[in-house]
Amino acid sequence: MTIHQLSIFIENRSGTLIKVLNALKEANIQIIASTIADTAEYGIYRLICSSPMRACEELKAANVAVALSDVFAIEIDDKPGRAADAVKSFSEAGISITYMYSFLLRGKGILIFRTDNNELAKQVIARDGLKSVSEEDLAALA
């Protein structure tokens, strides 16, 4: 029910981001969504892409500090209040969302997030009929 996100350590100096992007480009990896959690000295670049396992290996080969993290991808209608509805289900179950980002894909909203309790989150998704998106779905949509 979870998908793979690439989590990449990037130093805050020029040339580090392009190194990552170039490696992905050469491997013909398509970026679907991304966000950077930045600090004063470095950033954690989070990335949803096609073929995440292969992308991870390619980046490792390019000497990038990269790891795969398990995150959820939920599809919601592109209408006011839908994000609140989705998050409410987790909140009421006592699940914390560590971080979240979102994007639009073919007219649908996609929420990407990590929780502090993946097992419980899976139960909530099944119970409340939330639409979980698989890696294959995302790749096909992109």
Partner: protein, 426 residues
């Protein structure tokens, strides 16, 4: 031997050696006369503080035989240090010196638990370097079978280790790790060999390296310390406790000094190690500054030996930095970095002065294998950074700012000094 008996013996020998160099080495006679010291002024071991120091530069300046005390006809062996700059250091040994050396080396091996029943491979370089022949004579002295393997041809050496059932080895710790790697490559398991004792020296090493060598070769590894200017390997050795190296202090008297003020430091404090040879005939030296940094351990050893112990070499005084008045050695940072598997064994110290205050930044590289999915938030990465910072603080006694770097972004250094960038303009 009690401490009082040892001190009395050392005092007597010190007087004799000062008298000997005064009459046989013009370099020392001139120095002592300049300082208005006569041999009779030196009667107890405490009087050693009155004596001048000897440095590597003194040895170079008096190349090749200027500090030799015995006539050439009495010299039966000459070794030379691997000087990378300028003249090598030439050290001549009399027959008695070689005897003392063999005896001290035999003490080391006995402390390691080596007996005449062992088959012992000497894998230090033979030749001008003191390691090979020094260890060789000690092994022969206790009557074990010596295999003069030397260095190189590791695959053949491993074949001998396995087929001959070699039980002991003397080599550098890095060569021991290379042996382990070669074993992996050849498919030789530690169960296939009988090595049980390793005498490792000639370069600094860490407890982490010891753990790794012991695990991979299936032996117990002991420190062996020495330097050619004093004798060669055998100056100090670890016992079964593996906690500090006992100095053969009836022959080599150790002191720890502050490398800046040159004042002797009390037991337990880290400073520069200084040796005086108490019995040497060929090339005796007074208060030779080794540039090695360590401490003398207070208290007695559980093994029962009363000979004073020295700690591991923590660094070189040539590399010492003074940051906010605190002595900092790059090797201290190295030991911390090596203790955390999340980081590659590469680091850089950047020292600066901002608003009249010294700053220390330590750059370390993340190791790819240990960068896992949990590091998807700055909070997780910061925690790792803080763990390193707090370890550094407890070892260095000053705060260091940690900067994490991506894998393979710190240049591989060629020497120790390449680990430091000092931007202070003093």
């Amino acid at each position: 031997m009690s401490r009082d008996e040892m001190s009395a013996l050392q005092g007597k020998r010190l007087h004799k050696i000062v008298e000997y160099v005064y009459h046989n080495v013009p370099f020392y006679r001139n120095k002592l006369q300049e300082m208005d010291i006569r041999p009779d002024d030196i009667q107890t071991i405490e009087d050693i503080r009155k004596l001048p120091f000897t440095t590597k530069k003194d040895l170079r300046d008096n190349y090749p035989f200027g500090l030799q005390a015995a006539p050439q006809s009495e010299i039966i062996r000459v070794h030379a240090s691997s000087g990378t700059t300028g003249n090598p250091t030439i050290v001549g040994y009399t027959r008695k010196d070689i005897g003392v050396w063999s005896e001290c080396m035999a003490r080391c091996l006995t402390a390691y638990g080596v007996t005449r029943d062992d088959i012992f491979s000497v894998s230090y370089g033979y030749g001008l370097f003191t390691g090979g022949l020094g260890a060789h004579y000690g092994v022969e002295h206790i009557g074990a079978s010596v295999i003069p393997a030397g260095t190189g041809n590791t695959e053949k050496h491993l074949k001998l280790i396995r087929d001959l059932g070699i039980t002991g080895i003397a080599c550098t710790p890095s060569y021991a790790l290379y042996l382990a790697e070669t074993m992996d490559k050849l498919g030789i398991r530690k169960e296939d060999i009988k090595l049980r004792v390793g005498a490792f020296g000639a370069e600094p090493w860490t407890e982490n390296m010891r753990d790794e060598i012991q695990e991979r070769l299936g032996l117990k590894g002991y420190n062996l310390y020495g330097l050619s200017e004093i004798m060669g390997p055998s100056v100090s050795y670890e016992c079964q406790m593996q906690h500090g190296s006992h100095v053969c202090e009836d022959h080599f008297y150790p002191e720890i000094i502050n490398p800046v003020t040159l004042e002797p430091l009390p037991a337990g404090q880290t400073g520069e190690l200084v040796f005086t040879t108490l019995t040497k005939e060929g090339m005796p030296v007074l208060r030779y500054r080794t540039r090695d940094l360590c401490s003398l351990l207070p208290g007695t050893c559980d093994c029962g030996r009363t000979a004073v112990r020295m700690s591991r070499i923590e660094g070189r005084s040539d590399d010492m930095l003074i940051i906010r008045g605190i002595n900092v050695f790059p090797s201290q940072v190295e030991s911390v970095v090596l203790s955390m598997p999340e980081f590659a064994p590469r680091y850089m110290l950047i020292v600066d002065r901002v608003n009249n205050l010294d700053t220390l930044q330590v750059q370390v590289e993340l190791r790819q294998e240990f960068f896992t999915g949990v590091f998807d938030t700055p909070a997780a990465v910061d925690q790792l950074e803080k763990r390193l910072a707090s370890k550094l603080k407890s070892v260095l006694s000053i705060a260091a700012k940690v900067q994490l770097k991506a894998p393979n972004t710190i240049e591989r250094s060629q020497g120790k000094s390449a680990h430091v960038i000092d931007k202070r303009k003093l």
